[in-house]
């Protein structure tokens, strides 16, 4: 009885969680240009519009992809030495640095966005696309930092000792022991940053200065004119990408462990 009640509660939570997503996905099938649910005259015309015919959406999607891939790569590249420093030395300075690096993620993004807007305006490159990439990389630096740190901690000390005993140099140990064992964690961190960058918009709003638009920005800009089913197509795309990415992380990595589950119990 209790068990059944638990199952019902979980199913209900899942349903509420899925509700707006289902509604948006349904609305994306609308044949007309009004956001109706259930959809009227369902077909895939809006999908064609979003991916092929309407240039503002095609360009926005390109920008989103460039910023997401660029910033996720940069975030991993920045997080790696920092996580390594933290793990290898564990000095006070490296901890402070890691804490400062996580500040943008922890504090309200609107404040960081306003600050970045000022910073890039001083440098004179507000509105350049590389600025968007660097901004997102900083915002999401905390994510690969955490996953790579978890990966480094999971390395068996015996392997390092064995490598040292057999006379491996630091570089060799790094290449043959540390790098392979932390690769899944680096990739997870990359994907976390990628997906969040793809979906982020408030920081992007301040640093893009309306010079270009990502998909989320484009949707936000059209907010006042009301929603159209074409925007719902974007939502469907985004949720599909997220599910695909996290499924991949779960398939090839240890998702419960990344989320901090206990290792001793399986």
């Amino acid at each position: 009885m209790r068990r059944l009640f638990g199952h019902i509660f979980m199913a209900l939570s899942g349903l509420v969680l899925a509700l707006p997503i289902i509604v948006v996905a349904g609305a994306s099938l609308n044949g007309g240009r009004t956001m109706l649910f259930p959809p009227e005259d369902p077909n895939f015309a809006r999908f064609v519009e979003f991916f092929i015919t309407e240039t503002i959406w095609v360009r926005a999607l390109q920008n989103s992809l460039i910023v997401a891939f660029g910033s996720a790569t940069l975030a991993v590249l920045l997080a790696w030495p920092l996580a390594y420093l933290l793990w290898a030395k564990g000095s006070k300075a490296s901890k402070v640095l890691a804490g400062l690096g996580s500040l943008p993620f922890a504090l309200p993004p609107i404040v960081f966005g306003v600050g970045l807007g000022f910073l890039w305006a001083f440098i004179g490159s507000l509105g350049a696309i590389w600025v968007g990439i660097v901004s997102h990389a900083t915002l999401f630096l905390a994510l690969p930092l955490v996953t790579i740190s978890i990966g480094l901690q999971s390395i068996d000390r015996a392997h390092l000792d064995a490598a040292a005993t057999m006379g491996a140099t630091e570089a060799v140990t790094f290449r043959t022991v540390i790098l392979p064992q932390t690769l899944p964690y680096s990739i997870s961190g990359f994907f976390f940053a990628l997906v969040l960058s793809f979906n982020e918009f408030i920081v992007m709003f301040f640093v893009s200065a309306s010079a270009y638009a990502t998909v989320t920005l484009q949707i936000f800009n059209s907010l006042r004119n009301g929603y159209t089913p074409t925007m719902a197509v974007a939502a469907v795309l985004f949720i599909t990408v997220s599910i695909a990415v996290f499924s991949a992380v779960a398939r090839w990595g240890d998702l419960p462990r990344l989320m901090g589950a206990d290792q001793s119990r399986n």
């Binding site: 890691a98 690096g101 500040l103 998702l255």
Partner: protein, 322 residues
């Protein structure tokens, strides 16, 4: 997910000394530049001054803060408009974060009792909805709550509206601002704002509670059960005390996260009940174009957020120390 976890890497690994200290310095400088200067700039500019019709200039004036706390015309006239916005930001965030944690807690507890595989599936779904942009979530709830479709329509068609009218609840709803003369309405209302905010952080609540709950030793609860404690007793005397600190810590983190939420408030809150985050946006990029005042409001938001973050950090540390 914070870098707090990474501080566990305290045990020093048998790795030789770094041979390139300049690389470390460069990395440190780069991270400081990117992650810290924006906040410093916001703080510095908050003391600046607006130039009418142009932009702003460096200065050291407390006028922006005065305007925030007591109004621009102080001491002749005192207005608390901006403080009121901060109040609404806190108000929405408190209720929404408590609501999210209260419902996510039993869910996460049940989740951690599932098989590893089932947990992975749920986690994929939860992470996907966690990363879904605020604009999409607002879009979904907007369709669900708007007057022409979604829930109000369902109320009308199913006869629930008539039932409410017959039983007299309709007048109560009208008093709460959740109905117009003809039917129930959810936009714009505190209800819609808090519901959407709560939905927004619910997956975060699960992810934050997950480590603490999955490390909960099952033998503890089993022991209590064999000794004849009722499930309710086990919950209140074994489980809740062990996870009390993570519970409070997560609520604080979610609260901080919600302080800055923007789209939800713009779409769902009544015009008179907007928050500081919206005001920051209006000042910096919106109609008024008063960057220093926007920065001052951002600083107030920042300080509020930082206070609660420090508190959350302290609680997390304490729970880890045990």
């Amino acid at each position: 997910m914070t870098a707090v976890d990474s501080t566990k890497a305290e045990m020093t690994a048998p790795v030789p000394q770094m041979r390139r200290p300049w690389g470390t310095w460069a990395l440190g400088a780069l991270i400081l530049f990117l992650a810290v200067t924006p906040f410093i700039l916001v703080i510095v500019i908050s003391f600046g001054q607006k130039i009418e019709g142009a932009g702003w200039e460096w200065d050291f004036t407390l006028a922006n803060y005065q305007r925030f706390f007591v109004g621009a015309l102080w001491p002749d006239e005192v207005t608390f408009l901006h403080l009121q916005r901060l109040y609404y930001a806190l108000y929405y965030a408190v209720i929404a974060s408590v609501l999210a944690v209260a419902t996510a807690f039993p869910f996460t507890y049940l989740l951690t009792r599932q098989s590893r595989r089932a947990q992975s599936c749920w986690l994929v779904f939860i992470l996907a909805s966690l990363s879904l942009s605020e604009v999409f979530i607002v879009m979904g709830w907007d369709v669900l709550l708007s007057n022409r479709s979604g829930l109000p329509m369902l109320f009308e068609v199913s006869g629930a509206t008539d039932w409410l009218k017959r039983t007299g609840w309709f007048d109560v709803l009208r008093e709460w601002g959740l109905a117009n003369p003809r039917n129930v309405k959810f936009k714009t209302s505190e209800f819609a704002t808090i519901l959407t905010m709560s939905y927004l952080v619910w997956p975060y609540a699960v992810i934050l509670l997950y480590p603490a709950l999955s490390r909960l030793d099952p033998s503890l609860t089993e022991a209590a059960r064999t000794m004849g404690a009722s499930p309710t007793k086990v919950m209140t005397s074994v489980i809740l005390p062990t996870v009390k600190l993570p519970l409070i810590g997560s609520t604080l983190l979610l609260f901080v996260f919600l302080l800055g939420s923007y789209v939800t408030v713009v779409v769902f809150a009544e015009p008179a009940k907007q928050t500081t985050a919206v005001a920051v946006y209006e000042s910096v990029r919106g109609a008024t174009l008063d960057a220093p005042f926007g920065a001052a409001q951002a600083v107030v938001l920042l300080v509020t957020a930082a206070l609660f973050l420090v508190l959350a950090q302290y609680l997390t540390k304490r729970s880890e120390a045990r």
